[in-house]
Structures are given as C-alpha cells and as structure tokens.
Amino acid sequence: MTLRVKLFGPQARLAGRREIAVELPGPAPTCAELRDALARAAERLAPSLAASRFAVNQHYVRDDHPLREQDEIALIGMISGG
C-alpha cells in the first residue's frame, strides 16, 4: 500500500518536500516499518528518524501501531518550540 507522510520544519527542508509517499507491503504495516522505509526513501531524513515520533490522525502513536492507507500520518521530529 501507499502511505503519505507529512513532513514539517527542518525535516521538510532536509527532504525538500512537505509530504513523502512510501510503498509498504502487507495489509497493516506498523510505524516501525514505516520508519525503516522512510530512511530508505529519504536518506537525509535517516539521522533524525530514531528520535522522531509518528502521529496518526493527529494523535501520537507507538511504534507497533498498525497503519491504513487512508490514515493521516505525520512525522514529528526535530521539534523545538519556545
């Protein structure tokens, strides 16, 4: 399935785009699998991925969270408010 992941801030600059599409096999891939796929799809994101979290449909989820094609997925990393 194709998952679309929103990018923000420095990670959007690193990837050169605000959204990235990733192909993942299986009916319900997890966030952990998405993380690995992102590192391959956008090399420049790789160093910041370990310290990043995912939000699915606007809520933080854990790495074992299963993903569906219609989910709104956001990569939340390199944050620094204040």
Partner: protein, 150 residues
C-alpha cells in the same frame, strides 16, 4: 557575554502594580516567561525564525499540557501563546504566564512546561539566514528555500 549587564534597582512607595479586578483571588506569585528569537543560530546571524505548527494537533497537545501542569502545581491561572510563521530576531515567539499562591510551584511550572514543550509539542522552527549569509551545506544545501513551502 563580557558586557556589563544593565541593572536597575528601585524602592517605590506603594504598590509596584495595582490590584486587577480580573485576577483570580489568592494569587501570591505571577511568573511570566518570554522566549525571544536570538539573532544568531548555530553561530550564524539570522533575520528571523519561521515557526510551523501542525494544527489542530499542536493546539490540542498544548492545551492538554497546560492542564496537566496546572493541575500538578495547583496553579490558579495559566496563559500560553506561541507564534507560527515568521518571527524576527529580537521579537518574542513564546509567552507563558502562570499564577499561583506561592512562588515555588509557579517557577517549577514554568520550567516543566518549557521542558515538555520542547520534547512533546509539534512545533518547529527554521532559521531565515541574514542577508549575505549563504546557507551552510550542513543545513539546507540543495533544498528549496523555506519560502518555497509557503
């Protein structure tokens, strides 16, 4: 910072600030924190920071955090204002005001809120380099300028 700090000390007759009708009764300490955009980022001059939020998640997480901190420290009032978009150097991008009965919880609430903000709240900043400063390769090499995202 080997400049002499600017220091002003005054004793005044009567209140430093009059009572305000709208205040929550019982307040003994009001602490206000302002986060200001510094003119330098990673050692290089900037013009501004460009802040991004992910709404409505950002506002919802900020509100949840405010309630958690207010409960834990028994605050009487709390106000949080955060910028999105461009904030020039010298301007404030973040305001946090807490009111409590005593100063200890008020100060701890400020510290804890900011620690959590920087760890948990979907907010990002990207430097807008000062004119004449070419972006370093380690930062934004062959990336479109942030304006390209607007």
């Amino acid at each position: 910072m080997d400049k002499t700090p600017s220091i002003e000390v005054r004793l005044v007759s009567g209140p430093v600030r009059a009572a305000r009708g709208e205040d929550v009764p019982g307040v003994g300490a009001v602490v206000r924190f302002e986060g200001v955009v510094r003119p330098v980022e990673d050692g290089r001059p900037i013009e501004a920071l460009e802040y991004e939020a992910y709404e409505p998640m950002t506002g919802r997480e900020l509100t949840a955090l405010a309630h958690r901190i207010a409960d834990r420290h028994r605050l009487l009032a709390m106000r949080v204002v955060h910028s999105t978009g461009r904030v020039p150097a010298g301007a404030a991008s973040f305001l946090l005001v807490v009111a409590a009965e005593h100063r200890g919880p008020a100060i701890r609430a400020i510290e804890e809120f900011i620690d959590r903000l920087k760890r948990d709240i979907p907010l990002w900043k990207v430097p807008v380099w000062a004119e004449g400063e070419s972006p370093g390769a380690d930062h934004v090499a062959h990336q479109p300028d942030h304006a390209g995202f607007a």
